[in-house]
């Protein structure tokens, strides 16, 4: 995003709207620190600039990438899904993505509201790849950015790009939950940014999610609130592992 300095009247109204503090007050106008801006578009859409000084301008591949991972109104070209991740558990009764005995784990880098650079994302993908967890969900928008999925490496040209969030999602056997969560806990100490961590799974016949107990035993604290797929979608996915 850019500010037309010939229009800006330095009212500063826009500054608090920026989730990543990329808008600064200059001597005569406000300006945007390009390297900090994640292209979420909130300033242009909601800050109510009295002189319409915000404009997007020409965007190269890397600015478009920032936008795709930061502006929820923009679907990823590769997936047609709005937002940063995939449908994950939301359509599980139809897609059969997480079957019984399997667990979905997602590392939502940059959330809540801090943003991330892809070099931090790569620390997570490499760490998980080092224990053999390296199969990103086919619709994950990170997939086209990978240099080598086996090793978790991301293409160099993307590493310094900053986005509001990027989600590393994977599906593993329940037995691997301790290994995965411990690896995530370990890599969390190396990050410049934050992440929100998710745990999802199909319920057992007794209406429980054993993986939540496993997480609790490992010292994690599964939230009392969360998302429930009510199982109303059709056609239903076939059962089985």
């Amino acid at each position: 995003m850019k500010i037309d300095e010939s229009k800006c009247i330095l009212c500063n109204q826009c500054i608090p709207y920026c989730p990543v503090e990329a808008i600064k007050e200059g001597e005569e106008t406000c300006y945007i620190v390009e390297d900090e801006c994640v292209e979420c578009g909130i300033c242009e859409k909601h800050a109510g600039c009295p002189v319409d000084a915000f404009y997007e301008g020409e965007m190269d591949e890397l600015r478009k990438l920032r936008k795709a991972f930061s502006n929820p109104l923009v679907p990823h070209e590769s997936t047609a899904v709005l937002g940063r991740g995939t449908e994950e558990m939301k359509t599980n009764e139809v897609t059969g993505r997480f079957k019984k005995g399997h667990v979905g784990i997602a590392v939502e880098l940059g959330r809540p509201g801090i943003a991330t650079r892809f070099y931090d994302v790569e620390k997570v993908t490499k760490k998980l790849a080092s224990i053999g967890i390296n199969k990103l969900e086919p619709c994950n928008p990170l997939k086209p950015l990978m240099k080598n999925e086996e090793t978790g490496e991301i293409q160099e040209k993307y590493l310094n790009e900053r986005v509001l969030s990027a989600i590393v999602e994977f599906d593993i056997d329940r037995e691997r939950v301790p290994e995965a969560l411990n690896a995530i806990k370990e890599v969390s100490k190396e990050l410049e940014t934050v992440f929100s961590l998710d745990l999802a799974g199909k319920l057992e016949n007794d209406n429980t999610l054993p993986a939540a107990e496993i997480a609790r035993d490992l010292g994690f604290d599964p939230s009392i609130n969360g998302k429930t797929n009510l199982g109303l979608g059709r056609p239903k996915a076939k059962e089985g592992k």
């Binding site: 929820p72 991740g85 929100s196 745990l199 604290d221 009392i224 609130n225 797929n229 059709r234």
Partner: protein
């Protein structure tokens, strides 16, 4: 896209925070989903949600009811926010009876959602927990600010704007309700709960 998962706060606050939304599964049942998602929207809107929206279009405070209804597509995710279990139950029951064949997700206190589901004859399929925030947590704003900002999972509501409106309430230039409505439009998907936000702001102001 776990945009409603990481809402934070104590039970007493979260129990007044429910989101019900419908989503087609791309590649499985998105074809022909527009009338089904529209029907879902028509059902939930009857129960007077405090916010509603569609990720690709906007929310109650932006495009409004007509704008959302007329622009539903096969990749829409249609949301409604409720503040009590009774209303959530009525909306969920009618959605179930409508038998739309779309995936429907209920966000809220998991045990409460389970109880509601049982009452209306729904067996839960899959659940998702948040395991909290990790990494360089020194960067985070105060927990009370997070209780508000995490109601927009896409991070469109900045902590600085939230602090600004709280400061305005403290100065007496805004009511908590006005403050909540000032920040609500930024959450495109319409999953932000302005009623709950106003209560949190009121609590923050009274404690300081």
């Amino acid at each position: 896209m776990t945009h409603t998962l990481h809402r934070r706060g104590p039970y007493e606050s979260l129990i007044n925070d429910f989101v019900l939304f419908a989503i087609p599964a791309q590649g499985f049942n998105e074809k022909g989903s527009i009338p089904k998602l529209t029907k879902f929207f028509d059902i939930v809107i009857k129960y007077d949600p405090v916010n509603f929206g569609d990720c690709g279009t906007g929310n109650k405070y932006g495009v409004g009811e007509k704008g959302i209804r007329e622009n539903i597509t096969e990749s829409s995710v249609v949301h409604a926010v409720f503040t009590d279990e009774e209303t959530m139950e009525k909306a969920m029951e009618e959605v179930k009876e409508a038998d739309l064949g779309m995936s429907v997700i209920a966000t809220g206190v998991l045990d409460a959602v389970d109880e509601i589901a049982k009452k209306v004859g729904i067996e839960r399929h899959t659940i998702e927990h948040s395991l909290g925030i990790w990494g360089n947590t020194n960067l985070l704003p105060d927990e009370e600010i997070l209780e508000i900002t995490t109601m927009c999972g896409h991070g469109m509501i900045s902590s600085n704007l939230t602090q600004l409106v709280i400061s305005n309430v403290k100065k007496g230039t805004m009511t908590p309700e006005q403050a909540a409505k000032k920040i609500a439009p930024n959450c495109h998907c319409g999953v932000f709960n302005p009623e709950r936000a106003a209560k949190i702001i009121e609590r923050i102001v009274s404690e300081n």
